[in-house]
Assembly symmetry: C2
Homo-oligomer: 133 residues x 2
DNA sequence: TTAAAAATAGGAATCATTACTGTTTTGCAA
DNA sequence: TTGCAAAACAGTAATGATTCCTATTTTTAA
């Protein structure tokens, strides 16, 4: 199935490139709709899936029950704050090394990896100290 | 809220200990029901969540839309075969090191991590070669 | 310019998980 | 032991993210 251009897909991708906070399909939908009020949620889902399948964006699952998307496809880690639900990037240089080691140890073929850390971000830590006063 | 003993929870945990393939809630349900036909799916979900929240088991998300559970709570990685959907363990000694580095780099507090590799397992690679003949 | 292939909008369907409710079990204390 | 409040349960209804469906519109190669 050849992929044809669509304005909607272009807008979805463009929007995702402007964001570093790994929005969900619904957030993408609500934002793109500002500029293109007729777009449907199904179209957003379909295109996010298409882009992710083609490796142009990343689908991230942090365990909050909703998929997040990232236009940065370089190998990197994520941090999920279980307090505020925020998803942030984390660059660790040992990531490439880990990929190599994993492939050496695995009898199958590894295509990609996903690394996520869970905890409480600085902002939420400070806020909880604030509230104890 | 004090946790009280329940036979259902005990059976769920016992079953999970016998398995190394990271079953889903539904698989746990179907198996425990063999021995305890009255157990309800809601009870299985509630207890898996309770055990995971208390750190007695691990909730694993590999992106197939269903949560998997693991009685082995030691820090280790997983491999997900996108062909057969199987989830297997992977021991990589650099995992501890990565956790330490992540905590050093992160301004917040990291509680846990999840590392998953995606690809095709040996069995499925062989099978696809077989089918091409 | 045309027509087949691909994509869309809008809404219905799916399905894993959670919430609700009346009943049963657990475990502390009298 | 017995009484009782807290916790857990079974069964079922509700939720909500995501996918599927269909008639219509857009894209693009010839």
């Amino acid at each position: 199935m050849a992929v044809k251009y669509s304005r909607q897909r272009q807008m979805i991708y463009n929007f995702l490139m402007t964001r570093k906070d790994h929005p969900t399909a619904d957030v993408v939908y609500k934002n793109v709709r500002q500029e293109y009020p007729n777009i449907s949620l199904g179209t957003v889902y379909r295109n996010l899936t298409l882009l992710a399948d083609r490796g142009e964006i990343l689908r991230i699952q942090v365990g909050d029950g909703v998929d997040h998307f990232d236009a940065d496809t370089s190998r990197h880690c994520h941090f999920f704050c279980s307090d505020c639900g925020g998803v942030t990037d984390m660059q660790l240089d040992c990531v490439e090394d880990m990929f190599t080691r994993a492939q050496q140890k695995c009898s199958g073929k590894i295509e990609s990896q996903s690394i996520c850390f869970y905890g409480t971000c600085r902002k939420c830590l400070d806020k909880s100290v604030e509230n104890q006063k």
